[in-house]
């Protein structure tokens, strides 16, 4: 599982650098997210712009990250969904669960808006 991990303004940005997110590599993404959460990174953005294919197990890994973040009063947001990937979220109704942004800048500024409010 190739990922690029960056920190910006107390937000952790994980870019999944794989064409496919499937039962072969999604367990690793799940573990990476969990490890980052346990290290105290409670605000995460998963950038899926390089991902052209996601299966139910890839979706499951993201749900797992989402639940683990919420359990720690954090949050996990998504951005950069390719059209076919987006359609998987719609088919499984997960687009109503996740905050989904078109790109990382919009996802980042959604965290900043939040900071200003509080």
């Amino acid at each position: 599982m190739l990922t690029n991990i960056e920190s910006r303004d107390a937000v952790t940005l994980i870019q999944v650098q794989e064409e496919r997110l499937d039962a072969h590599n999604s367990p690793e993404l799940k573990n990476q997210m969990l490890k980052l959460l346990e290290e105290g990174n409670h605000r995460m953005i998963i950038d899926l712009q390089d991902v052209r294919f996601v299966d139910s197990s890839g979706l499951g890994a993201l749900v797992s990250g989402f639940k683990n973040a919420s359990a720690r009063n954090g949050s996990l947001k998504l951005c950069g969904l390719q059209p076919q990937v987006q359609s998987m979220f719609e088919l499984t109704r997960l687009h109503r669960v996740f905050d989904i942004f078109s790109d990382r800048h919009q996802a980042l500024s959604s965290f900043q808006d939040l900071s200003e409010q509080t």
Binding site: A23, D55, S56, T92, R93, V97
Partner: protein, 140 residues
């Protein structure tokens, strides 16, 4: 005359092969001249249902198997695309699997739902030496 092609693929019960199997199906879909709909979407869907069905066979049916190879067939004939994934596991009932995904935060349980949503007919059939998940799609 409509196209006909029969593909048989055997490979070990390992997720390393998911990508290749999915992409072979995708390649087939891209090259189906008889299909009148959106080819890119068909290619994605064929890749996806193959990936889901094979991943299920690896996860749920890899135990009491007599052969070290998983067996998949893809056939196109008379405007019908049929994908079969054979397994030698304990089997399950398609009817026991949920029909919708509404607002669930489960990590699992979306594979069969996706397959049923994207294919026109899905059956899980008992054979002498195991089961087969049969997925059909009308090309026109």
């Amino acid at each position: 005359m409509s196209e006909r092609i029969f593909l048989d693929i055997s490979f070990p019960y390992e997720t390393d092969y998911l990508c290749l199997i999915g992409k072979i199906g995708e390649q087939l879909a891209w090259n189906l001249s008889s299909f009148s709909g959106d080819r890119e979407t068909l290619a994605y869907h064929v890749n996806l249902v193959l990936t889901e069905a094979v991943a299920n066979a690896i996860e749920h049916a890899a135990d009491n198997r007599s052969s070290p190879f998983l067996h998949v067939t893809i056939r196109v004939e008379n405007g019908l695309l049929t994908i079969r994934v054979f397994d030698q596991g304990p089997g399950f009932s398609l009817c026991d699997v949920q029909e919708s995904c509404d607002d669930t935060l489960e990590e699992h349980g979306r594979g069969i739902f996706i397959i049923k949503s994207l294919m026109d007919r899905v059956s899980y059939i008992k054979l002498d030496d195991g089961h087969v998940l049969e997925m059909e799609k009308n090309l026109y």
